[in-house]
Symmetry: C2
């Protein structure tokens, strides 16, 4: 089976040089992958020519021209209404008309969500798509949604997130019955607001492997496969976590560059510090899924470098391979049937 992925080549902070290099890497790694690079055709061609392997791979990719680019600070509604020939939109259109199985973009998140919803629509039974990402833990990684697509999610939406996330984790990670935790301010039943208590009741009554409330620090302990939360809390938790990681990196660097002696120690400790950084490398977790759409759309971090944009392509490839959209649609319709009985 061939997996076809469209790439919004012009999207992201670094644009075509990065997305094309990552695409070439992905083609070299996954023999059954085919790519469509979308963006300014001549710039993409120029970039492709810089990669020696692109010639022998040329029967596995093509370039689709798009005349516009959505900027990172553009309003989603403006991008949706006015930029019909943006690289992002054209890349999503290719999912819609089944030319490709998935799309990857490092562009404006709000615009990606708005255009994806407009072009692809949501799966029947899903009110709004949610953004699911992977997060590092003490023993590997976990998944968390929603990371910021929805604010003020009610119990029905949160349960939808749990269903969609469970299916995605089940098939992309090969975990038969992923454990699901609901993010709250305490683990006791009495903790939290009415919204979260009602959600917990619904999750208990579901077929999901729901383990109950979890707290913010539980995200990183490595004993939960899926963390469910509203996008407001999810985004704040994600950004706060990034902030702490940066701060700790800053203090670690400061300690090792304080004076000539600490700098010598830094040289000696270099392999260990490199090993430490590798274990936490956020790039390896790049590629968040816009779950709930009638098609696979993967959001890369805007500042992704070649290796981390490659991870986002890999995520698209894996989700397309297991046909995640169909799996979610089937499960959601089963749940809806069950609830209507």
């Amino acid at each position: 089976m061939t997996i076809k992925v469209s790439i919004d080549a012009s999207g992201g902070d670094h644009g075509i040089p990065t997305t094309v290099a990552a695409g070439i890497k992905a083609l070299n790694v996954f023999p059954d992958l085919q790519l469509v690079f979308v963006g300014d055709k001549s710039s993409i061609q120029t970039e492709l020519n810089k990669h020696p392997s692109s010639q022998k791979l040329s029967n596995r990719f093509n370039v689709t021209h798009a005349s516009e680019v959505i900027t990172m600070d553009e309003s989603p509604s403006n991008a949706l209404r006015k930029k019909k020939d943006a690289s992002m939109r054209v890349a999503i259109n290719l999912v819609k008309d089944n030319t490709v199985d998935a799309c990857v973009s490092a562009g404006n998140t709000g615009a990606l969500m708005a255009i994806s919803r407009f072009v692809l629509k949501t799966i029947s039974g899903i009110s709004r798509p949610a953004i699911m990402g992977r997060m590092p833990t003490m023993s590997g990684h976990t998944h968390m949604l929603d990371l910021g697509a929805n604010i003020n999610s009610g119990p029905k939406s949160l349960v939808e997130f749990a269903i969609m996330g469970s299916i995605a984790v089940k098939y992309t990670e090969n975990i038969n019955s992923p454990t699901v935790g609901l993010l709250n301010v305490g683990e006791e039943e009495m903790k939290g607001n009415d919204n979260i208590k009602k959600t917990s009741e619904l999750l208990k009554a579901s077929n999901l492997n729901y383990i109950g409330f979890i707290e913010g620090d539980d995200i990183y302990k490595g004993n939960i496969d899926l963390v469910v939360c509203d996008g407001f809390e999810g985004n704040i938790a994600l950004k706060a976590s990034e902030g702490v990681a940066s701060m700790m990196g800053h203090y670690l660097k400061q300690a090792f560059t304080k004076n000539i002696f600490t700098k010598i120690i830094a040289l000696i400790a270099k392999p260990v510090l490199k090993d430490f950084k590798a274990s936490l490398n956020p790039g390896q977790y790049n590629g968040a899924s816009l779950l709930g759409l009638r098609g696979i759309v993967i959001k890369s971090h805007g500042g992704a470098d070649v290796d981390s944009f490659f991870q986002a392509i890999k995520e698209a490839y894996l989700e397309a391979q297991v046909k995640i959209t169909e799996k979610i649609a089937t499960q959601v319709s089963l749940e809806l049937e069950k609830n209507s009985e």
Copy 2:
């Protein structure tokens, strides 16, 4: 001026040995401090006898017996209704009857909040107290509230938090006009829910030094003096941050203990790693304020050791010294007058 502080000696995971040792340390550091240790009198006396300096300090502390202890997992309502002679309650009563200027407890947070509200009541114009804590940043520390006392805070409550927090930061940190940021999922005006947008409008119209929306990672950048948020998000951000810090500590330790070579490097790098740990030592930020009460109540982390419980006593001492309760009451009544004009 003498500052008097009551200590819930039996509270916390480590109880009397830790709280008494921290109290003795505080008496040695602050010559104008007086303490009342509250808890089982004979256990406290036994512990005091272990400290050589307690004899010469004996005219600066006394012990008040309390026959009960509130456990860490007890329900706040049960603690409030049934344990009238708990060390925590007696310590708070001493604030109420003006025997002391402030109270410190490492006990059950929910019970501390419930008993404090019941015994002390809130300042006129303040609907609910909020928990404010200090958080490390790249350039020192910042303050954040609410860290979990209130869930579903409306615009009026969030503005109250901002007023109380600004006053507390102004007087305890000597910052004339502390910058205030409102935690949201983006910095643009259009971001967030109606609640947060309305709060932002109110803060713009206030006399506070409001700088607008901030994101989770901004907490740790060191350019905001006060972070305002609902307790649900605040608690999740705090716990998620603790989780990331633990995880990074875990990976750092793992990298340095991997094999005999990395262990030798760890020995060489020991002073640098110690320096790094010291710069992030969470104990130095121990001591969260229950702002909005008619009296000063400081919550210590339950697992606090002697040094970090000392920090909580220091926080109580500093707030009592600047008469934070009166300062907040005055400012709140001014704001209320302004709004009723």
